[in-house]
């Protein structure tokens, strides 16, 4: 499992953020060629992002690029420019059709092969920013082995739902639940959208706790100050880690003795609980696992 608690957006035409964003220690960075870049600057942002990627100084961050949507004239040039730099993945905005993911998979394979990069290396992160995209979430997540995560949209989704932002984002409860269900059914990560009020730390913590409870693995981030709060929510407490260790050790011991049932602190523990304990240790960085 790759930790994806936080993915920090870095505007693609801003050298300061592009070069320093990883220093705030997010789990991943998203170099943004889409909404953060004015139409008149798409060309120069693409060159700048390419050269920052070639420099390759991102610490241990997972490096992804948000390309322009597949109904624009820019997306092919975007991937032709950034994929040969050996990035971890691309984030595609406004995905609505599984067929588009199949087209993207083929285009990525072609570029990887030409650039002598392992075919399949470049992962796909899908942003579902319309009612139709949310409705087709499972099929989109299953449209290519490259899909690593699906993410519900924020403002674009609200607009498509013909609603507005409420104080507790009530309007996104349904879409968020649908995305997390589809993600786990398809075996990919569910990553939540950004929390846009960058001075409301309490609100960010509340929302993060809620999406974690729903089953999300992380959130996108638009300001470095949001990173420690989200990491704090997603990092297991010492007590949770201790309990998880006990369960995993007891399960391993029982398996070695050929026993199916496991007892921890006088309580019988079944398979799902062991699985959850293993996941807690993965989140705490104490256990490897997962595939993408």
């Amino acid at each position: 499992m790759r930790l994806r608690r936080t993915k920090l957006y870095l505007p693609g035409n801003n050298p300061n953020m592009l070069l320093r964003g990883h220093l705030f220690n997010p789990d991943g960075v998203i170099l943004d060629l889409e909404d953060a870049v004015a139409m008149s600057e798409k060309d120069s942002a693409r060159i700048l992002v390419r050269d920052v990627l070639k420099r390759g100084d991102f610490g241990s961050c997972e490096v992804t690029v948000r390309i322009n949507a597949m109904d624009t004239e820019f997306w092919r040039k975007d991937i032709e420019t950034v994929v040969p730099c050996g990035i971890d993945g691309i984030r595609i905005p406004k995905v609505e059709d599984p067929k588009d993911i199949a087209i993207m998979d083929e285009a990525l394979s072609h570029i990887e092969s030409k650039a002598k990069i392992r075919v399949g290396k470049t992962l796909i992160f899908c942003l579902l920013e319309s009612a139709l995209g949310i409705w087709r979430a499972y099929d989109i997540a299953k449209a290519s082995k490259r899909v690593a995560a699906i993410c519900p949209g924020g403002e674009d989704l609200r607009a498509d739902l013909k609603t507005t932002r409420s104080s507790n984002s009530e309007e996104l409860i349904g879409p968020r639940r649908m995305v997390v269900l589809a993600a786990h059914a398809a075996g990919v990560d569910a990553l939540d959208t950004v929390f846009t009020d960058i001075i409301d730390d309490a609100g960010l913590r509340r929302e993060t706790e809620w999406v974690k409870q729903l089953g999300y693995q992380g959130k996108s981030v638009i300001h470095p100050n949001q990173i420690p709060i989200i990491h704090d929510v997603f990092t297991p407490t010492a007590k949770e880690i201790e309990q998880a260790k006990k369960i995993v050790e007891a399960a391993a011991e029982a398996a070695a003795r050929g026993l199916g049932a496991v007892q921890v602190d006088g309580k019988m523990v079944d398979k799902p609980v062991v699985k959850r304990a293993e996941f807690t240790l993965q989140r705490a960085g104490l256990r490897a696992g997962g595939d993408k």
Partner: protein, 90 residues
């Protein structure tokens, strides 16, 4: 004379303006900004290297710098030159 520009005056960035020159006039570079006194030589080299790699021999370049490192300067020079040529950059 045709002119094109790329970049901003945000921190760690620069604005590069390029103007067509007649054949045989060579490359002329004018720079201003905080880093020029210390890194001017390196900036000239980065600019000339980029122009050479793009096959540009005759051009006038003006750089307003606000702390751009080589990588950024080169990216902005390339974007400006590609805009001057009328093609889409990258």
């Amino acid at each position: 004379m045709k002119t094109a520009q790329a970049g901003t005056l945000e921190s760690m960035d620069c604005i590069v303006s390029v103007t067509e020159s007649d054949k045989g006039r060579g490359i002329s570079i004018v720079m201003e900004g905080a880093s020029v006194a210390r890194f001017g030589e390196a900036m000239v080299k980065a600019t000339k290297d980029t122009l050479r790699s793009l096959g540009v021999r005759d051009i006038s370049v003006s750089i307003q710098d606000n702390g751009a490192i080589d990588l950024v300067l080169k990216a902005r020079v390339e974007a400006a030159v590609r805009r001057l040529a009328g093609g889409n950059a990258a």
